[in-house]
Symmetry: C2
Subunit: 211 residues, 2 copies
Amino acid sequence: MIKTELERVLPGDIEKRSFEIITEELGDRVLDPENELVIKRVIHTTADFDYADSLIFSEHAVELAKAAIKEGVRFITDTNMGKSGVNRAALQKCGCTVDCFMADEDVAEAAKRLGTTRACASMEKAADLGGDCIFAVGNAPTALVRLYELIKEGRLKPKLVIGVPVGFVNVVQSKEMILSLPDTPFIVARGRKGGSNVAAAICNALLYQCI
Amino acid sequence: MIKTELERVLPGDIEKRSFEIITEELGDRVLDPENELVIKRVIHTTADFDYADSLIFSEHAVELAKAAIKEGVRFITDTNMGKSGVNRAALQKCGCTVDCFMADEDVAEAAKRLGTTRACASMEKAADLGGDCIFAVGNAPTALVRLYELIKEGRLKPKLVIGVPVGFVNVVQSKEMILSLPDTPFIVARGRKGGSNVAAAICNALLYQCI
């Protein structure tokens, strides 16, 4: 039977209550304490418990990301939607910024000239700019493939790669490429699922631990 | 075994190929032709085939929405993330606009004064502004509950309610409230799943049919 009666929860308590429900429904399932808040926030964002299994963390990815955030890292997303999902107040408190180059004119031109995607060209632009970056890829597998290549070529050394594009063409493969990197911290949602909302949720889960 | 070899697909063909894969995997499943493009775009956005079952359309919701779009309807979202996911070029070609009032100062003040959520106050603001609107709620069940009340009170007559919030507290219930409305066109993702990405995908699926 479908619930129809509204639960009385104060606006400020909705998130807390949601996390309680998630914890209840995870039951006996033991999550790595280091990764727990990220996993639960992704489930909170998607209502999809598959992420308890599909999220793969490289060793101490969360601790390394938190250290980078404390140094004022720059987040780079592959969609403006992902960018707008990253909590502005949390970024500011941590002295971090978020950028997305997808809609930039020089990126569109480069993509056209090279016969690639704008997502791919936007990663290239980020690599050229340099600095300490966390990449949050929630949409374009081509962005993730290009990140992999830039890392392999030694042109990029990200503080973290959040690899959670969603979809059907080269999504699974692009994630496996990131999972194969030996020295790059990553958080990857194995399989087809993910999204800009998932990417933003992971950024926020990391930021909230640094406030 | 996990696929690791990249599929060769030109950037401009990725979406087409994705829809082919979705159609293949839906197999013998027959979708209502009127709703098919919306359902497939949501699956494309989420890689989640659950939506083939959970998306509920009121009678001719899609045709009614398309007629409203052709008259230059205003889309209202409950998150800036949802807003930023609605395709700008498609909106412009259709003579439509998209607004989100969540970050407005008067909305924050009203929410505080009334002890409600900003999402709820932002729906109130939309109702006060009047005009023909399509509401796309991908995040806040409180927004959906307030929409239901405004419709019941006769203060609002939306051209379409896209009811796809995600989460654990009152999400299921708020959707059932919209499903119970006899004279309001709706597209609802029954259950806990949804999101700003899903809301934007539905807006885009409707807009693309009007270009």
